[in-house]
């Protein structure tokens, strides 16, 4: 496979008209190849979610296009976005695990439905396969029989991933999948995404505001700010030697030892700062 699996070219998304028009995304381009995880980093309002929605065909573009395996699937003024029979190829995991599952559908049933639609399975086959798929990402049978409200955030997020994987897609767009769940569940999800990449040769677009996670998961990264991609490149390079001032600000803002791990020079500065702040009473002598 020579060309990219998924390519967004000069994507611009505009909300509103006339004087009130506001460009949520402007001239954003990115590519995804099989078996790679690419990161998109940015703060709220940077347009990263809008960009994700464009790539899965949920959002129309003002200009620019999305190519799937070389074929244009989203273009300006096209009414119907991604052709129906192609839709299984690009799937999405949403940010909020509390709203991305139908509250009246048991976990297994949400997965089985996708299997029935795309993999031409009978009801029973789909049911068995759904349990197997859920099992493989750490949802056991009793949990699979529950309604979403009886599952934790991390478990729900894994159910949504199973649902997205059911059509055996080639690309997974993950829009802040870890931001609403606990830290230990985050780690589990990060491991899962890495496993999916290597086992299924899946291309993953990982959208996040968490630079530490992006550093850990991705090989290339795009930094977005106010609808524009301000810096792109190999993740290590971008985070070690940020060229755009905004990337540097983002790095400096990381709390705790996150900065240290990414750039040691900066890390020392942080721990020095912390030393100065320390109150003498906190020498750990008593009180605990």
């Amino acid at each position: 496979m020579s060309g990219p699996l998924l390519e967004g070219r000069d994507i611009t998304v505009r909300f509103g008209r006339g004087a009130d028009a506001f460009e949520a995304v402007r001239d954003a381009s990115l590519t995804l190849h099989p078996g790679e995880i690419v990161g998109v980093v940015g703060e709220s309002g940077s347009g990263k979610t809008t960009l994700a929605r464009v790539l899965v065909g949920l959002q129309q573009v003002a200009s620019g296009a999305v190519f799937l395996e070389g074929q244009p699937v989203v273009e300006a003024r096209s009414r119907e976005s991604v052709p129906k029979n192609e839709r299984w190829k690009v799937q999405m995991v949403f940010q909020d695990p509390y709203s991305s599952l139908n509250p009246r559908m048991r976990a297994w049933s949400a997965v089985a439905e996708a299997l029935q639609v795309w993999r031409e399975m009978t009801r029973n086959q789909a049911r068995m396969e759904a349990f197997t798929l859920l099992q493989s990402i750490g949802i056991d049978e009793s949990q699979a029989r529950r309604f979403p409200k009886a599952l934790s955030g991390g478990q729900r997020q894994r159910v949504s991933i199973a649902r997205a994987l059911a059509p055996e897609p080639k690309v997974l767009i993950a829009d802040e999948p870890t931001s609403a769940i606990d830290q230990s569940a985050q780690a589990r999800l990060a491991n899962l995404l890495r496993r999916l990449r290597s086992e299924r040769n899946l291309a993953i677009l990982f959208i996040s505001h968490d630079l530490a996670l992006v550093r850990y998961l991705t090989s290339r990264v795009h930094v977005m700010r106010r609808g524009r991609i301000v810096e792109s490149g190999p993740t290590e390079a971008v985070l070690r030697k940020p060229r755009h001032s905004y990337t540097r600000i983002l790095l400096d803002s990381l709390p705790g030892r996150r900065g240290e791990a990414i750039s040691n020079r900066r890390g020392e500065a942080i721990s020095n700062r912390r030393q100065e702040r320390r109150f003498p009473a906190a020498d750990g002598s008593g009180g605990f």
Partner: protein, 331 residues
Amino acid sequence: MEAESPILRVENLCIGVPRRRRGLLSIVDTADFQLRRHQALGVVGESGSGKTMLCRALMGTLRRHGAGVASGRILYRERDLAGAGEKVWRRIRGRRIGYVPQSSLAGLNPVLTVRTQLTEAIHAAREASATEAEDQALQLLELVRIPRSGQVLEMRSHELSGGMRQRVMIAAALAQEPEILIADEPTTALDVTIQREILNLINRLRERLKMALIFVSHDLAVIEEVCDSVMVMYAGASVEIGPLEAVVRHPRHPYTRALLASRVDLAVPGEDLETIPGDPASVGAWPSGCRFRPRCPLAEDDCREGVQPPLAPAGLQRTACLHHDRMGCDP
């Protein structure tokens, strides 16, 4: 030394919600810590660990949420507040113990201006004329580094950005010059750059006003930024407490260690992150004995017995683990 006597002591605090017929549903039990002047205590735990309920207990607002103190003591300057009524709490809340809620629209009244809400808080603290109160409101906004404070005074919460809103809420909490400031996930919904500003602000304020701080967060990295000691909560119980450096460098509870090991900021790309097997114990379904036992690599038969083990000294900190001596020293 005066600084050494704790201003707040929480002893074996248990919080429950009464249930029809089936008695009390425990949400927090054996929360146990003390707070000295100028100390900044971080409280870290995942959802369902009981950290928000603990804040409510310290603010005396449990009853509003249908809960209550089941046993244990909350000693503020040697005075037990655990069973105190609304009348007592009204003198403590805000004046002695300030509160910064989660950064959301809910913290500020949407129909009132910043001026109204700040002067209200000031009037609650002391006798002040309208102009005095307004002067102080302006000073407070400057204290939390809000530019163009005169303009901001006339704004309502929807006109403020998330970071500004949080600053105003901090200003409101400081209006009565509390001795202790409780901040419940004050930066969780904010962008990292804004979070950085708020954390810096909290640090500066704490130094300047010599307050004690209780900072609740699910994120250890954030706690590292503002706190000098930390309490780790799991399933409603304090499992480890101690100086921040000691806990982070030499955790004495397997849960703390697992939490540290699952941190992505210290992970090496290409290697799997460590995860905690199983799912968090949910309220009402806590296992017998040590609550972390079903997920714990060190668990033995004696962990199964009785109730959640109490905190016991270990190194510089205190831990609830019976087998902490078998833990390696590094996270």
